[in-house]
């Protein structure tokens, strides 16, 4: 057993392997100081909850307290590995400042109370509003961090029992475009590829996806391929010098907001050089001719003028993609949170469709998720989708769901798509949404244009219920706060980006009176006395396992079919990829292996949307276009971003993540190792821009947009000139009296992709000014990641003795 500083070395030691070989196991673990493996009373099975990778782990319990974690070598996803957030993150749950009792607002202040009192307040207000206005007054805004059973229950309560159309998750901020792009191209959500495609690919293209920081274990898999024989070549599209960019064969850094222009030029070249699999296109797709016409004039030279990427480099990239025998592509926020998000992400799918690169080992698309359980929000219908990937504009699908729930069909709103998060906020702002129930998320830091968000959440006339594990910037504004249990304190399942389902078991009791989110939702339903058509209490289930069994029935026959899974079957072994049925009891590694899609008019989840206007395609139009359910090649023209740099605001502002933190730091900010690695907000500036502005490493600067400003220390990095980057994690709960000048979203614009409705965090304009010289300090930004400094002399990010973790690499590692 070796020890390694996993703050200084986030990806751990290499275990090289060659194409087609099995990824070697490496078991990572971390135990509390003074606890040895033999001291652990029991190991309880779970998976990681601080990113979307879904790494399997066991929770160490001693004296009924969590004392550490260890990766599960048997699991297909991580083969025993864990990332820094998972190795250290569990400590947050034991913080003394957990919410342990319900709070209600009395005379302006939140005061502790009991569950009966708190729930009675919520139930009374719900009833009043249902009587006065009906279901349209109630809205739910949930998370990407609850469990499948909880989302399914919330969807049943919201869309079924109450019958409101207003339900979304913060997954809207991270994964909505992934879902939208899959629906546009394949008719239905569902990740075509598999993580194991990394084992086989000869070219891996990462589009706006800093995998090294967002999915550290998956990146270890790529690094191990790069260290082995016959390594894959990497294409990286990113305006920052990420660890991915540093390993890439080719790195393209387009100007923020111009991804679609770049993609259209890549497709232009692939078509011009006839690197097209015409047999595949002919047999399995519709719309190819539209694409050919759309990109006909869109040469690399045209794209060069828009994106600021040399035409020659674009040609090289097209050659790389066009020459691949096994092409794996991954996409994330650099595309999803940028201008023309869905249109750009769809063009990545199109590269695979025109090249016939789907459904075989190494040939796959991973439209990534940002959060650990985002996939379940989508499947279960708690995020602007209808339960079981059903189509809200297909009356038969709605009737089928009503039958599963044993409710009247009219009870389920389907006059339009479920209301997306930003529209819910707009309805709250204008006063037609009057009760907003927020679970496990922190919109007062994570949504764009925070001044506006704070004002609307604090609005008189909005009854705000917030369910969380800590006091947050959002609970501060609530009328009722409900204390929730978290990972390790409750049982349930969740599903990662490549469709792998894991069981996560309760290891310890929640603190104080905190309750599992599932129990809170079910308690609300019982107090509201919801009934099904036969007068039985609705939802008809009562705990996690009965909720899972109910969900299986709702998923039956749909692409995300869980009917072959049971809690018992998930115990002990590896995670299983859906669809998992009686016919496929071991799950399904890749979708669309036979070139058949869930795109037939009667089956598909969506008829698609216009890639520019966002208007839904009408059923008749879709049926005429795609009667046989082939994959759909949808093309779109580039349009300039809605907010571009100008004389007053000369920089393009991009916000994003760092490896060491999750979301708004409610957990990771309470973990010493993670907090020390990235303790404060910073701003990344290119060397040439910094020189021009007279700014040096560590100087205190103000970054301002037309909406707000942030004060931060400057990190001079290799970021693309003209672009500023600010991490979005930092809010005010631990700001100790700092003004409202710390959260990146003070500056971001209110704008969203018309197709996926995902807010855009990567196309605001900003200006920069020096406030105070560095006084010898450097920026509080990690040196291990995309924020690496260009200058020498900045102290390296390390974890010290507390950063040491066990690493059992067995044989073959170095």
């Amino acid at each position: 057993m070796a020890f390694k500083d996993r703050i200084a070395h986030p990806w751990g030691s290499r275990t090289p392997y060659g194409p087609g070989q099995e990824w070697p196991a490496r078991v990572d673990g971390h135990l509390a100081e003074g606890v040895a493996p033999q001291d652990v009373d029991r190991w309880v099975q779970s998976a990681t909850i601080l990113h979307s990778n879904g790494d399997a782990l066991d929770i160490a319990v001693k004296d009924d307290r969590v004392v550490g974690v260890r990766g599960r070598a048997v699991d297909r996803v991580n083969r025993g590995r864990l990332g820094p957030k998972d190795l250290f993150g569990w400590q947050a749950h034991q913080s003394a400042d957990r919410l342990t009792r319900p709070l209600v607002r009395r005379d302006g202040a939140l005061v502790e109370t009991d569950w009966d009192t708190a729930m009675d307040v919520v139930v009374r207000r719900s009833r009043e509003l249902l009587d006065e206005q009906g279901p349209s007054a109630l809205a739910f805004y949930t998370s990407g961090q609850l469990f499948l059973e909880e989302y399914y229950t919330l969807a049943a309560i919201g869309h079924g029992a109450i019958g409101t159309n207003h339900m979304d998750g913060n997954t809207r901020l991270c994964t909505a475009t992934a879902a939208a792009a899959l629906k546009e191209s394949f008719g239905c959500d569902g990740q075509p590829g598999s993580y194991s495609d990394i084992d086989h690919a000869d070219v891996i293209a990462l589009y706006g996806h800093n995998m090294a920081e967002t999915q550290t274990v998956l990146w270890s898999r790529v690094l191990d391929r790069l260290a082995g024989s016959d390594p894959p070549r990497l294409l990286c599209v990113d305006c920052r010098p990420t660890p991915v960019a540093r390993e890439a064969t080719l790195h393209l850094a387009p100007l923020p907001g111009t991804n679609l222009a770049l993609m259209n030029a890549l497709l232009h070249e692939i078509i011009r050089r006839d690197l097209v699999d015409h047999d595949y296109v002919q047999a399995h797709t519709v719309g190819y001719q539209d694409l050919v016409e759309r990109v006909a004039d869109h040469t690399p030279e045209v794209a060069e003028r828009i994106c600021g990427v040399p035409a020659g480099r674009i040609r090289e990239a097209a050659e790389l993609l066009g020459g691949a025998r096994r092409l794996l592509s991954t996409v994330l926020q650099g595309f999803y949170q940028s201008h023309q998000a869905t249109a750009a992400a769809v063009q990545v799918n199109n590269v695979h469709l025109v090249r016939g690169m789907l459904g075989r080992p190494g040939a796959g698309v991973l439209q990534m998720n940002g959060q650990p359980t985002a996939q379940n929000t989508r499947e279960c219908g708690a995020d602007g989708d209808l339960t079981g990937f059903r189509n809200w504009s297909n009356d038969e699908h709605v009737a089928e769901l009503a039958k599963v729930w044993n409710l009247d069909t009219l009870q389920i709103p389907h006059y339009g798509p479920p209301t997306h998060a930003m529209q819910i906020m707009r309805y709250a702002e204008t006063g037609s949404v009057r009760l907003l129930w927020v679970s496990a998320t922190n919109p007062a830091v994570s949504l764009p244009d925070l001044h506006r968000i704070r004002a609307l959440l604090a609005r008189q006339g909005l009854f705000l219920v917030v369910q969380d594990i800590f006091a947050t910037e959002t609970t501060e504004l609530a009328d009722v706060v409900l204390p929730a249990a978290t990972w390790g304190e409750k049982t349930g399942t969740f599903t990662n980006t490549d469709r792998t389902v894991h069981l996560s078991e309760r290891a310890v009791d929640p603190p104080g009176e905190a309750r599992a989110d599932l129990d809170i939702f079910l308690d609300y339903a019982r107090r509201m006395d919801f009934r099904d058509r036969d007068g039985a209490p609705f939802p008809q289930w009562h705990d996690a396992e009965s909720a899972f069994e109910a969900w299986k029935r709702a998923s039956a026959g749909r692409p995300c079919d869980y009917t072959g899974l049971t809690y018992a079957g998930l115990r002990g072994g590896s995670g299983v990829q859906w669809p998992c049925t009686a016919e496929r009891p071991g799950g399904t590694e890749r979708l669309y292996t036979d070139g058949r899609f869930w795109a037939a008019p009667q089956e598909c989840e969506s008829y698609g949307r216009d890639l520019v206007t966002g208007a839904p395609v009408e059923p008749v139009e879709y049926a005429a276009m795609n009667p046989f359910g082939r994959a759909i090649i949808r093309a779109a023209e580039y349009l300039p971003p809605h907010e571009e740099p100008d004389g007053q605001y000369p920089f393009a502002l991009v916000t994003g993540r760092t490896l060491y933190h999750f979301h708004t730091r409610t957990k990771t900010g309470r973990v010493p190792q993670l907090s020390r690695a990235a303790p404060e907000v910073w701003v990344e500036i290119a060397e040439s821009d910094a020189r021009e502005a007279g700014i040096g490493e560590g100087d205190l600067v103000e970054v301002a947009s037309p909406r707000g400003a942030v004060r931060a220390r400057a990190r001079i990095s290799g970021i693309r000139p003209g672009v500023l980057f600010v991490p979005f994690h930092y809010g005010y709960w631990d700001a100790r009296g700092q003004d409202r000048d710390r959260a990146a979203n003070e500056m971001t614009v209110t704008d969203w992709d018309p197709v996926s409705k995902q807010p855009l965090f990567k196309t605001s304009a900003a200006r920069l000014r020096l406030l105070r010289p560095a006084d010898g300090r450097s920026a509080p930004a990690p040196t291990t990641t995309a924020s690496r400094p260009v200058a020498d002399g900045v102290p390296a990010t390390t974890g010290g003795p507390e950063g040491l973790c066990q690493e059992d690499v067995g044989g073959g590692a170095r």
Binding site: S136, Y415, T613, G614
Partner: protein, 159 residues
């Protein structure tokens, strides 16, 4: 030939649609999707007007008699309907404006249809191609207005 009349008509209505889209973009800054998408869609109408001007010149039409985007008004706005026209409720006002926009786009669509028919009659391949290229975008503008009406109206009616 009288095809010039059809050209003039589609150019006038297309310019009016651009004005209407920009007016809505200005008016609804807080309805962010309307604000942004209306601006994007106004560019399509500008491009159409521009191309129509070139086509008109080829047909010897006096460009002075044609309405340019700078000075075209929306003409007489289609009737917004009694229910929607009334009052100062912002929700109802938005529905009324979207309804007006939909009808304006429908008018442009009809004009493209007529121009396309005319182009066939006089066997003008260039004009036919122009109509075939621009008309689908008009339909997309129309579909967008319709879709926004469908999405936004239930919340207005339910209050």
């Amino acid at each position: 030939m009288r095809i010039g009349v059809a050209l003039r008509e589609v150019q006038r209505s297309e310019a009016g649609l651009a004005v209407e889209l920009r007016r809505m973009a200005d008016e609804y800054q807080d309805e962010v999707e309307i604000h942004h998408v209306a601006q994007d869609l106004a560019r399509w109408s500008d491009e159409h007007v521009h191309e129509l001007a070139a086509a008109a010149a080829r047909h010897g039409e006096d460009s002075e008699t044609l309405a340019g985007p700078g000075r075209a008004g929306p003409g007489s706005p289609p009737d917004a309907g009694g229910l929607l026209a009334a009052g100062s409720d912002p929700g109802l006002a938005l529905l009324a404006d979207l309804r007006r926009l939909y009808l304006a786009a429908a008018g442009v669509s009809v004009d493209w249809e007529l121009l396309g028919q005319g182009a066939q009659a006089v066997k003008d391949a260039e004009l036919l191609e122009l109509s075939g290229r621009c008309h689908p975008r008009t339909l997309r503008q129309m579909n967008w207005a319709n879709a926004m009406l469908k999405v936004l109206s239930p919340q207005v009616w339910a209050r």
